[in-house]
């Protein structure tokens, strides 16, 4: 029987083969091409000319790139902590039996993720307008401030606004991920816990969270990988005061698609790749994914 088990493990290659096959055909080429471009000077029209490491040297001296790393981190942290907290809380609540119309709430909480960027841009411009925005009207009516707040004149406020947009757009997404994880937990475990007299809070800590761990790790890591590539939301707000909402990928976009410096843009892309890899490795180490894996298998 043990021999059989070892034999079977090689079937794994068959299961993952289609994924890698399609990857090699469709995705690897573009990735390598961008990598090649990062060693060239290319405006998009002429033949790329090889410049060695010049783009990477420039990257290391690009103060705006370092600023964009900082901006990305600030925006990410401001959005991810409330986002995941709210998502997990809502998922736990919506997993309860007494909530009627769960479907409806699933859909509604996911709606922000479906609102198109154009609508988002118009909406937030209207809400956070300096003179006419609803946000200012509300806080002035409440007597919190006397003069309207010029939201996009303060670097931190601008970052906070981008972070709230992100949070608002993505908490429903993470909530659905958590719910899918919760649904995978066998019902009998809860029944057993109920018979043992455990209360809701105890079951959540003792049963739900440990079994939700793989999904929590997934959320953590994809939030790091996705969060470091924030782009759509800051793009629609703009670079912000003192470039405070210029994120790393926006910096890449400006170099390549606004200034037509594709070589440099490619170098920024690989700079971002290294940073994300480090951040992911760090967060994996934090969640001790390895130890856990060995413990399970």
């Amino acid at each position: 029987m043990f021999a059989g088990k070892i034999d079977k493990s090689r079937y794994g290659y068959l299961f993952i083969a289609p994924f890698f096959l399609v990857f090699f055909i469709f995705d690897l080429g573009p990735i390598l091409y961008s990598f090649y471009l990062s060693f060239t000077d290319w405006s998009g029209f002429d033949t790329p000319s090889f410049v060695g490491l010049a783009n990477y040297e420039r990257l290391l001296q690009d103060t705006l790139f370092f600023k964009s790393i900082y901006n990305t981190l600030v925006i990410w942290i401001l959005s991810i902590i409330p986002q995941l907290t709210i998502a997990l809380t809502l998922a736990l609540i919506l997993h309860e039996k007494f909530i009627r119309g769960k479907h409806l709430f699933h859909a509604i909480f996911y709606f922000p993720n479906m609102v198109t960027p154009v609508t988002m841009g118009v909406l937030f411009a209207l809400i956070f307008d300096w003179q006419n925005g609803s946000a200012n009207k509300i806080i002035m009516a409440l007597g919190i401030v006397d003069d309207p707040v010029n939201w996009f004149n303060s670097p931190f406020l601008a970052q906070l606004i981008v972070a709230s947009i992100l949070m608002w757009q993505w908490f429903g997404f993470n909530m659905l991920v958590f719910l899918a994880g919760l649904q995978s937990i066998p019902e009998d475990l809860y029944e057993a816990a109920e018979i043992d007299g455990a209360n809701k809070f105890q079951t959540a800590i003792k049963i739900t969270l440990p079994l939700l761990r793989p999904v929590l790790i997934f959320t953590m890591i994809t939030s790091v990988i996705g969060g470091m590539q924030i782009f759509d939301q800051p793009l629609m707000i703009g670079k912000g005061p003192e470039n405070s909402t210029l994120t790393m990928v926006m910096h890449l976009y400006e170099a390549a698609f606004v200034r037509y410096e594709y070589g440099y843009g490619a170098a920024i892309a690989y700079g971002i790749f290294v940073l994300i890899a480090v951040a992911t490795a760090f967060s994996m180490w934090m969640t001790k994914i390895r130890e856990k894996k060995e413990g399970v298998s």
């Binding site: 290659y13 083969a17 890698f20 096959l21 090699f24 055909i25 690897l28 080429g29 573009p30 390598l32 091409y33 090649y36 405006s43 998009g44 029209f45 002429d46 033949t47 790329p48 420039r58 690009d62 103060t63 705006l64 118009v122 411009a125 209207l126 307008d129 300096w130 003179q131 006419n132 010029n150 004149n153 670079k239 005061p241 003192e242 470039n243 400006e254 170099a255 698609f257 606004v258 200034r259 037509y260």
Partner: protein, 434 residues
């Protein structure tokens, strides 16, 4: 084992393929060089075939229809690729020489990066010099390449002016006559003084302007180019722009409503601000339901002439349909089309002759009986002619960003310039900065 070998094979084939695909791009340059097209001697019926045009807006289809009407044997195929990514689409197609259209549209903001490339046909060789001869100077110059050849042609100009509320003007400026008002706002000093008066008389309810950005928008084309001989040159006139912006803000001349923001649109439709520097094509922002905007506005001249936006058409060098493509460009350069375009869409013409022809007759419902071409014609001729340039506009935007953030933060011109130089250095390391 065998599988991984196949992978390696495919892998290397791919790399070789991809790398090969990017060199050796220079094929078929100038099959038609130096050949004048002689289209003048042909009748519309003589032209036949299919013409492919790429653009970023649907309106070109109307243009194509009008062309097809006149040229019954020609089929014009317009493909629309929206958004900023139109540039990427065009570029990828051109690089691989795949299905490139005969004619492609270029927008003012990025055309400078395209028109000097070898895949753009030299229109002067086909006789286009005489097509643009009668055009407004700035329109003609933008389409001119580095060597002085015509590379791209536009069928319109896009001048800006002050649009003002007639009722507010009567109340606070004492008149709604375009001539008189143009005189009252003929310099920024006058505007600042007038704006203070309006603010005081209305107890802070009404502002003369919407935003200090109007200064930048109307003046930004009147300075020396930013980059000369690889060096950054800061024209002293930028300091005046900065100071005017600053004084406008400090003296409550403007209502602090960002250009094309929601509040700006409200003020444009409902009042609170007397005048708005905006381009001739800005009418779509005006709510004219049941004709309520008829005769509501007047046009006054801005202190300097300026333009905003613009679409140009180029012919692909590798096109095997150049004669027909040239005929299309010739058609849109004609008085016939530009008159029609003015009448149907309100787009200002590129030809001075079309301006002159309509000077005493053209009116638009928003402006009542005012002959608005008079103002626009004066202004459009005041716009300095510059080549499209690769990054002059982008650098101007960096200046505005630095200036406005300094003004909003109560900083000086010197601090703004310091910020500005920093951002130029970051974006354009090849430019020498003192």
């Amino acid at each position: 084992m065998r599988k991984s070998f196949t992978f390696i094979m495919m892998f290397s084939v791919l790399i070789i393929g991809v790398l090969a695909g990017c060199s050796g791009d220079s094929e078929e340059a100038g099959s038609n060089n130096g050949e004048e097209m002689n289209n003048e001697n042909m009748e519309p019926e003589d032209f036949e075939g299919t013409l492919d045009i790429w653009t970023f807006f649907g309106g070109v289809e109307g243009m194509a229809e009008s062309f097809e009407e006149k040229y019954p044997n020609v089929d014009v195929n317009v493909e629309v690729f929206p958004g900023d990514q139109y540039q990427t689409k065009l570029m990828t197609a051109i690089q691989s020489r795949t299905d490139v259209p005969d004619i492609f549209d270029l927008e003012r903001s990025y055309m400078g990066k395209f028109i000097n490339q070898e895949f753009v046909a030299n229109l002067s060789d086909m006789g286009a010099d005489e097509l643009v001869e009668g055009q407004v100077e700035y329109v003609k110059e933008l389409g001119t390449g580095e060597n002085g050849d015509v590379r791209a042609i536009s069928d319109h100009s896009s001048p800006g002016a002050f649009w003002y509320h007639r009722d507010l003007a009567k109340e606070y400026l004492g008149t709604d006559d375009p001539q008189e008002i143009s005189e009252m706002v003929s310099s920024w000093d006058k505007i600042i003084e007038l704006g203070q008066k309006v603010y005081e008389e209305s107890d802070g309810e009404v502002n003369l302007l919407s935003h200090y950005g109007d200064v930048f928008n109307t003046e930004k084309q009147h300075q020396e180019q930013w980059v000369q001989d690889g060096k950054l040159v800061v024209d002293p006139a930028w300091k005046d722009i900065f100071n005017n912006m600053k004084q406008i803000r400090e003296n409550n001349v403007d209502a602090k409503l960002g250009y094309f923001s929601g509040g700006w649109g409200d003020a444009l439709n409902e009042g609170g601000v007397i005048m708005f520097a905006m381009p001739a094509w800005g009418g779509f922002m005006i709510d004219n339901e049941d004709g309520k905007a008829e005769g509501k506005y007047g046009i006054a001249k801005t202190p300097s002439g300026y333009y905003e936006g613009g679409t140009y058409r180029s012919i692909y060098e590798g096109s095997d349909n150049k004669q027909l493509a040239y005929e299309f460009v010739r058609y849109i350069s004609s008085e016939e089309w530009q008159n029609k375009n003015l009448e149907e869409t309100g787009n200002m013409p590129a030809l001075t002759s079309v301006y002159e022809e309509n000077l005493d007759s053209y009116t638009h419902e928003f402006f009542g009986e005012q002959k608005i071409l008079e103002q626009y014609y004066d202004l459009v001729q005041d716009v300095p002619a510059h080549e499209a340039g690769e990054n002059n506009n982008d650098i101007s935007t960096l200046f505005y960003d630095a200036a406005s953030s300094a003004i909003d933060g109560g900083q000086s011109y010197e601090q703004a310039i310091e910020k500005f130089k920093k951002s130029v250095a970051n974006g354009y390391p090849e430019i020498e900065i003192e």
